[in-house]
């Protein structure tokens, strides 16, 4: 039943892609509007997951936990923006990298301080437990499908927000011309805080959703953050559309590579080594894809016109 297995892997890839999009969208928005590179974005993902797990454990409800994750991440984002980030907009990228690297250290160690070193567990809500039959006879967990649906919904919502609302108009104005937006009479400081909190909420939401299928622990945001960087570099930094396509490309390439490459290697080398070589290449595959794309288009697939 390899077709069914492949379909399952494809869905896993899309699910990873959708989660990466939630991370990448925030990163790319923050860069597009404020010109800031934020390494601590993965910490906000972690904050969302911890908030959800803690509140879900208190209240017994995943859903209340999910709402809490949005609030906690957005609040953490807003506070960090007010206290630290806004001092960095005029600084060079090196300062931004270092300051947000420092924030990671503080967030990680602070979380360990509050919650200890053991992972928390978050259960899938009863409504979304169980599996769905796929064509071909295998089953696929309902919750993962729900993640895909939720991610698609958020992507759509984000698109509507940016293209149809006043806030979106201001964000687009901020991306193309910071002076103009000031001239329009928009309070740019508030706008920046709102955009940062919005990006944080997206990351927190992703962390909460993923928290139910992985353990919730310190450092969980870092691998995702780096994949999200790959996504926005491929997509073109500042482009939401690029983030969406890049996320799906990275999610599917990574998952399918890990699934297919060891099998592909069987054609060339003995079985004992096929798994090893295939696995090693698969772990590097998205970076190779990134290198190839950059060799052709150094500013990514959808470079923003004004940059």
């Amino acid at each position: 039943m390899t077709i069914a297995l492949a379909l399952e892997q494809l869905l896993n890839g899309i699910q990873l892609g959708v989660m990466l999009f939630l991370m990448a969208a925030g990163l790319t928005l923050i860069f597009g509007v404020m010109g800031l590179i934020n390494l601590a974005h993965g910490s906000l993902y972690m904050v969302g997951a911890f908030a959800c797990a803690t509140v879900a454990a208190w209240t017994g409800s995943f859903w209340i936990g999910l709402v809490a994750s949005l609030i906690a991440a957005a609040a953490a984002g807003a506070i960090v923006e007010l206290v630290v980030i806004r001092r960095l907009y005029d600084r060079d990228h090196l300062d931004q990298v270092l300051a947000t690297f420092a924030l990671i250290l503080m967030f990680s160690e602070g979380t360990r301080w509050l919650f200890g070193s053991f992972p928390l567990y978050l259960d899938i809500p009863p409504l979304l437990q169980g599996a769905v039959a796929l064509p071909g006879g295998t089953e696929y967990p309902l919750y993962r499908l729900a993640i895909i649906a939720a991610g698609a919904l958020v992507a759509f919502g984000l698109y509507m927000l940016i293209s149809r609302t006043r806030l979106g108009m201001r964000i687009r104005a901020g991306e193309s011309d910071r002076e103009m937006i000031g001239a329009l009479g928009v309070d740019i400081r508030t706008l920046y805080t709102v955009v940062f909190a919005l990006g944080a909420a997206l990351a927190g939401f992703a962390g909460a959703m993923v928290g139910a299928i992985q353990s919730v622990q310190v450092g969980m945001g870092e691998p995702v953050l780096i994949l999200a960087f790959v996504v926005i570099v491929i997509g073109g930094i500042g482009s939401i559309k690029g983030a969406l396509l890049g996320a799906l490309l990275v999610g599917v390439t990574d998952t399918m590579g890990r699934f297919l490459l060891p099998k592909l290697m069987l054609l060339f080398v003995p079985p004992a080594q096929a798994g090893m070589i295939g696995g090693a290449i698969a772990s590097m595959l998205i970076y190779i894809v990134m290198a190839v794309i950059l060799a052709v288009k150094p500013r990514g697939l959808f470079p923003p016109a004004h940059a």
């Binding site: 630290v84 001092r87 990228h93 300051a99 250290l105 360990r112 870092e222 090893m276 990134m290 150094p298």
Partner: protein, 325 residues
Amino acid sequence: MLLTRENLVNLILALGLLAVPLAANALGQPFYITLATRVAILALAATGLNLALGVGGLVSFGHAAFFGIGGYAAGILAAHNFSGDPLFFGFSGTNQMWIIWIVAVAMAGLVGLVIGAISLRTSGVYFIMITLAFAQMVYYFAVSWPAYGGEDGLSILVRNQFPGVMTMVPLNYFLICYVILLLGIALFAVIRASRFGAALQAARQNEVRVATVGIQPYRIRLTAFVISAALTGLAGALFADLNRFVSPSMLSWHMSGELIVLIILGGTGRLFGPLAGAALYVAFEYALGGLTERWQFFLGLILLLVVLFARGGLLGVLAGKARHG
């Protein structure tokens, strides 16, 4: 050489690093010798990065890749030498440090050439993220390739050898690392003062100007990136021999971040900035680590304050603003 304030501070730093292990040795405290050796090695790694980042303005967030490659060069050569399994063409590794150093420099330089050739086509945030991503690629390769320990890392059972020196004696190994550090700093100084260094600094200040006089900034930067990677790789080999262990953590992005932090703490682009930064960092780690388990939190806080309020780093405070001829 003029006895400026900066040169005086540099001299004190260099002598201070030598004095600590000598005193520790006299007092029978080998632990402090190991700390000083750590400082010397980290300072060498950061001196390598400082060439790209401080002089050339190339914010590489992937220098852990070169540090780790140097480390694995030492680990792999030693492991083959120990087991006798041929590595290639009947060559079964070595336990001679100087051969290991050459291999570490060559491998790190080669990988630096490939990563640099692609990354330097971009600039700004793209460059930061791409160097990070490539380092991550090397990291995942090390984790998923089981032949040399994968995630668990690789032990070097007996420290490698150097002709005429008992390398297992802590003070001896410190002295080896110290001499190499001084040579590395001297190389940095010579390159920075040369025609090549002038072109590299000018490319940081104004890329268009450099191109307009007819120098390709890309070639200058790529060359600097390769030298920088090679120096950091050499430090990696020394680090592996210090710990007698190498693992993917040497390749992790925290390591890359740490190397940048060392430079900033000490003073970006300054000759002795990396040494000042490494000394400060290891002292923090040791002092804070003794006070609280949560020292990383306070390290983050201090770093944040330095970035926000004390841009020149330690040398900026001690020796004033950097000067250009």
